[in-house]
């Protein structure tokens, strides 16, 4: 049955007629292979290993970040322990260090930024995805993205020379006149201070929040919208019940992502917050954040404990931003996971 001697047993198939048999020897003689038949196993293995090393480098870098922060912050940890985070004095001359003023400043400026930016960012996202005419959509999305491309130092420059004078001359006196009873808007309007930091941070995180909000709102299935519209709802009611309600978790994720960015933002804040390690109720007063104290004092820090305290602030900032980012990504994922994911191989 088989046309070969090396003894294949019972192969299924029809009996071949003589002209249907072609000897392999003849075939081999005629088709010389054009390319050497060498195995690629070694090269494939080497390539795989090289790519694995690149991926592993990311892991290594993060491990290195953690290691460097922990080992360089150890001195401060030994000196102050947990108390480091609740001590109010920052006194390099007497080697007394506490991070509370910076933690306070970071939290207050970031919250202020969220209060200002969240309604605006959601408004922008709603307008772009649900209300804007199609032709305007791309242009608006691009323009808000552009806001994210501006470097922090340019925001700071603009804030020093435009925003701060504006606050000092017009907004702060106005707020002081009507809102000083709250205690939050009292005292001399310097312009520079917590309020300026909050406003510039708000401008900086709006594109982040609105980009995520747009993404999750687009991920809401069309049927949800149609279902509400079919009940006779107006467009706003459709957005509120059909879109925002379903995208809620993802929008919260975007807000938290914006918070993560605000917590770690350095340059613009450093340029306008006033850099004074004090805890003051009034938002007009100068403050200090964790990121900006590192930026200002790290290269001038004399003394090991001083430097180590700054690194420990960096470590705390690092850990907080990781927690915040992981939480945000999880929330965004809960909304967008339903949308078709590309698959491979």
């Amino acid at each position: 049955m088989a046309n070969r001697a090396w003894g294949a047993p019972q192969l299924s198939g029809p009996e071949l007629l003589p002209h249907e048999r072609v000897s392999d020897r003849a075939a081999r003689g005629q088709s010389a292979l054009l390319i050497p038949e060498k195995s690629s196993r070694w090269a494939d293995g080497a390539f795989h290993a090289a790519m694995w090393a690149c991926a592993g480098a990311i892991l290594l870098v993060v491990a290195l970040i953690v290691y460097e922060l922990m080992s360089n912050g150890e001195l401060a940890w030994h000196a102050f322990g947990w108390k480091f985070f609740v001590r109010r004095d920052w006194d390099p001359v007497n080697n007394q260090f506490g991070a509370l003023p910076f933690i306070y400043g970071t939290i207050v400026s970031s919250l202020l930024a969220l209060i200002i930016s969240v309604p605006l960012a959601i408004g922008v996202a709603v307008f772009i995805t649900e209300m804007s005419p199609i032709w305007l959509r791309g242009a608006l999305a691009f323009t808000t993205e552009l806001l994210a491309a501006i470097p922090s130092v340019i925001y700071g420059l603009w804030a020093i020379f435009v925003l701060v004078p504006l606050l000092r001359q017009y907004l702060e006196p106005l707020m002081g006149r009507y809102l000083s009873w709250t205690g939050l808007f009292a005292g001399t309007p310097y312009g520079i201070g917590m309020l300026a930091a909050g406003v510039i941070l708000a401008i900086m995180i709006i594109p982040i929040i609105s980009a995520i909000a747009r993404e999750v709102m687009t991920a809401v299935p069309q049927q949800q919208r149609e279902g509400v519209l079919a009940l006779g709802a107006t467009r706003w009611e459709m957005i509120r019940m059909g879109v925002l309600r379903n995208a809620r978790a993802g929008i919260v994720g975007g807000i938290i992502l914006g918070l993560g960015r605000a917590l770690g933002e350095t340059m613009a804040v450093t340029m306008v917050i006033g850099n004074r390690a004090e805890i003051t109720k009034s938002l007009f007063a100068p403050g200090y954040t964790m990121a900006s104290v590192i930026a200002n004092e790290f290269s001038e820090a004399t003394g090991d404990l001083y430097l180590s305290s700054l690194v420990e602030i960096g470590l705390a900032l690092f850990l907080v931003t990781i927690v915040v980012n992981v939480l945000a990504q999880f929330l965004v994922w809960t909304v967008t996971r339903g949308t078709p994911r590309r698959t491979n191989v």
Binding site: G13, A27, S40
Partner: protein, 252 residues
């Protein structure tokens, strides 16, 4: 020149699901053999086992003995070595999108380290002529990308690409299923000419196509080879009841 293929006790799995059950089959050299059967019967998996393409799917594996000419492909040979001898044409035309027509045809040689430019030119022209595409593309060889051609032209480009490495066997996995009738006709005509020099295994869901192009036909059902014989025998006087049911359109 084509070589014969001997398949013995071939089994294949996707994860824990067995897709092919103990296939043994002798495919004659320099002829066309058609593989037919209802969808999901394992016919695609079967040809993908003949050039070790099956194992590129995560979790998929195959066992058994497959000889292509004198090469035992599941025994110590590397997959790339096998695939250089066994050309493959896929269901959907899949030219390399960013490559020119010329580079598409030359890809198999160039990417395997073949550097002789003059011979490359010859081989590209000969392959495109064999695939009956030369006259349509000769003026845009380097100007147009492979994906700018029409569907039928793309499939012939893919055939030319497979021929350029001068394989001994050509596997075709439903090569005309995504094409219009005129392009399908051209591809069938091409198969007729190609089997002078190559062993061809063609998967098809179209029984007329099988009877037009192939001397031998194998019928697969649920991962088993039910019947394998001369094409006219399968279509006029099948030995197995299930084959008869299939070719008379009673299922599938």
């Amino acid at each position: 020149m084509g070589v014969a293929i001997e398949v013995e006790h071939l089994n294949a799995w996707f994860g824990s699901t067995q897709a092919l059950k103990d296939i043994s089959m002798h495919i004659a050299a320099n002829h066309a053999t058609a593989i037919i059967g209802p969808s999901g019967c394992g016919k695609s998996t079967y040809v993908r086992c003949l050039n070790r393409m099956h194992e590129t799917v995560p979790g998929a594996r195959a066992e058994g003995r497959v000889r292509i000419g004198d090469l035992n492909i599941y025994n110590g040979t590397s997959a790339t070595q096998v695939r250089r001898r066994v050309g493959m044409v896929f269901q959907k035309p899949n030219p390399f999108p960013t490559y020119s027509i010329y580079d598409n045809v030359a890809a198999g040689l160039k990417l395997n380290g073949f550097r002789d430019r003059r011979r490359l030119d010859e081989i590209v022209e000969r392959s495109l002529r064999q695939a009956a595409l030369w006259d349509e593309v000769r003026d845009d060889l380097r100007k147009k990308s492979g994906s700018s051609l029409s569907g039928g032209q793309q499939q012939r480009l893919c055939i030319a690409r497979a021929l350029a490495v001068q394989p001994q066997v050509l596997l075709m996995d439903e090569p005309a299923s995504a094409l219009d009738p005129i392009s399908t006709g051209k591809i069938e005509e091409l198969i007729f000419q190609l089997k002078e020099n190559y062993t061809i295994v063609i998967v098809t869901h179209n029984m007329q196509q099988a009877s037009r192009v192939a001397e031998f036909t194998g019928f697969f059902l649920l991962g088993e080879l039910i019947e394998f014989d001369r094409t006219e025998k399968i279509f006029t006087n099948p030995a197995d009841k299930r084959t008869e049911d299939y070719i008379t359109g009673r299922f599938g």
